[in-house]
């Protein structure tokens, strides 16, 4: 499968002409544990544009999930601002639909179709008829038409995530927030889901903010990657990855980018090791 790009190499995106859909400026996020206040991210800034597949990438503990929760409105920044379409984010809302990693995000007392319809009805965005029509369309998009009257406990993990994606997409949110949605799946299913997600993006060109700790997944799924340093999360780099999908996985460029990001994430460790070696050599 090849992924057509909204902007090819021919035409560099002119960021000054577009205004960003989501703008995160100098955001510091903190959360409380029982004993400490932990800084999850420190002065992180990035802009997400229309139809971006924007990936937040970093090792665990880099605050990428916190950042996503911040954008979703579950966490207020202690410093900095987050704006969606020029409006400051201050609470959760259905204009930013979230797909979680956990399989229990579906309501177990509702069938697949009712689950997909639920946010449309709960937010008062659609009439029942409209919601049903949309739900069926998006359930069909994720190839679950046969299972639309089934309850979540009868579905496999991959199917549950597909329902969650359909549920989020049917709302046609301004931005789709995905918190490691494929992390709990087996490798084969994960690959299939990544392909399907890219195909869905091909069809509808939604904007998404995707969190992952897998470098490979970031390169395949993302069109732009924000690399975060560990604890507290700070911006290391913002890279382009729109030229890569599964088909390019064997290419040397793909490998080179993987290696580059890998070095970025583990640079500190390498430096430490180098220092230790140098110290040992001198000593």
């Amino acid at each position: 499968m090849t992924v057509a790009q909204p902007v090819d190499g021919l035409l560099k995106p002119d960021t000054s002409a577009h205004s960003p859909l989501l703008s995160v400026k100098d955001v510091t996020l903190q959360y409380k544990t029982r004993e400490h206040i932990v800084t999850a991210t420190f002065r992180v800034s990035f802009d997400v544009f229309q139809a971006d597949r924007f990936v937040l990438l970093g090792p665990s503990g880099c605050g990428k999930s916190s950042l996503l929760k911040g954008v979703a409105g579950f966490m207020a920044p202690v410093e900095g601002s987050m704006q969606l379409n020029g409006q400051t984010i201050d609470r959760p809302g259905p204009d930013r639909m979230m797909v979680f990693q956990e399989f229990d995000q579906l309501m177990p007392w509702k069938t697949v179709q009712q689950n997909v319809m639920f946010p449309m009805l709960a937010s008062g965005r659609c009439t029942r008829k409209e919601a049903q029509e949309r739900a069926l369309r998006f359930i069909d998009k994720v190839n679950l038409t046969k299972f639309r009257d089934v309850y979540p406990h009868m579905l496999s993990g991959g199917m549950k995530q597909r329902v969650a994606i359909a549920r989020a997409m049917a709302m046609e949110p301004d931005i789709l927030l995905m918190d490691e949605p494929f992390a709990a799946l087996d490798a084969l299913t994960r690959r299939k889901m990544q392909e399907e997600l890219l195909q869905l993006w091909e069809d509808t060109r939604f904007t998404m903010l995707f969190v992952t700790h897998s470098i490979e997944e970031a390169i395949i799924v993302g069109s732009r990657i924000l690399v975060l340093s560990p604890h507290p999360g700070r911006v290391k780099a913002e890279l382009n990855a729109h030229q890569f999908s599964h088909a390019e996985q064997g290419r040397p460029e793909f490998g080179a980018l993987t290696q580059r990001i890998h070095n970025m994430l583990f640079a500190e460790r390498i430096e430490e090791e180098a220092l230790a070696k140098a110290g040992a050599a001198h000593g």
């Binding site: 259905p94 979230m98 979680f100 956990e102 229990d104 995000q105 007392w109 946010p119 709960a122 937010s123």
Partner: protein, 237 residues
């Protein structure tokens, strides 16, 4: 023990098969037998248990042959029929049920108020758990003398005791159920823009429903216990 030369796995030739058509495998699925399907129905199994118990009862009572200490099933049914048709049984049952349902409904209402306070504030949570720890183990019967002193001999005392036995069980279970709703489901609900009462009605209550139902069942069972006292009351009075 490690031998001198390490064992290496035997290298075997590779092969690939064309998959056999599923149709040729023969039996892929088969309907269950009538017996299996029948025993899968719950009421059939329960009816079987009841019939077995009835047979044992009747057989043992006939073997004992003393209708004063151990009447047979047939005799018992006869007595039930007689007091239903010509005796006061129906009327008394009705009065009893009325008191029971009043107490149950009142208990549920107070439990709902308590749980609402408990889910919305931290001090409410502490209040509920402290009160539950204090009153839940207290047997309703133990409160009856006190209730009689406060409300006199009659329905209010009984309602009070029933409320006491229903309230704590239901409040405790409902609250536990609310606390057990997964963080993901809560966030999903808030993500849809649900807040306040709608959030409780559309997310918390359905998600905690198994616990709430368990609480209602326990409350219902507890509500019957003080009723046994009442059933004897007209005789002693």
């Amino acid at each position: 023990m490690a031998s001198a030369s390490p064992i290496t796995p035997l290298v075997r030739p590779e092969f690939e098969h064309a998959t056999v058509e599923a149709g040729q495998i023969g039996e892929v699925e088969r309907p269950l037998s009538t017996w299996e399907r029948l025993t899968n129905i719950e009421w059939v199994r329960k009816a079987a248990i009841l019939i077995t118990l009835a047979v044992i009862w009747e057989a043992y009572a006939r073997y004992v042959g003393n209708e004063l200490t151990f009447p047979t099933l047939v005799q018992t049914m006869q007595a039930l029929w007689d007091s239903t048709v010509s005796g006061p049984l129906l009327e008394r049952t009705f009065t009893s049920l009325k008191v029971l349902l009043t107490g149950y409904a009142l208990g549920l209402f107070i439990a709902a108020v308590f749980t609402t306070i408990a889910v919305s504030t931290r001090i409410g949570t502490d209040l509920l758990s402290t009160l539950t720890a204090m009153f839940n183990p207290l047997p309703a019967i133990a409160l009856l003398p006190l209730a009689l002193l406060w409300f006199g001999l009659g329905t209010p005392s009984l309602v009070f005791v029933i409320v006491h036995s229903v309230l704590w069980a239901v409040a405790l279970n409902t609250h536990t159920g609310f606390l057990a709703v997964s963080e993901t489901q809560r966030m999903a609900g808030m993500n849809y823009g649900l807040r306040g009462v709608r959030y409780v009605l559309k997310i918390l209550i359905p998600a905690a429903f198994p616990s709430i139902l368990a609480g209602l069942k326990i409350g219902w069972a507890f509500a019957w216990r003080p009723r046994l006292v009442h059933l004897r009351e007209p005789q002693s009075a």
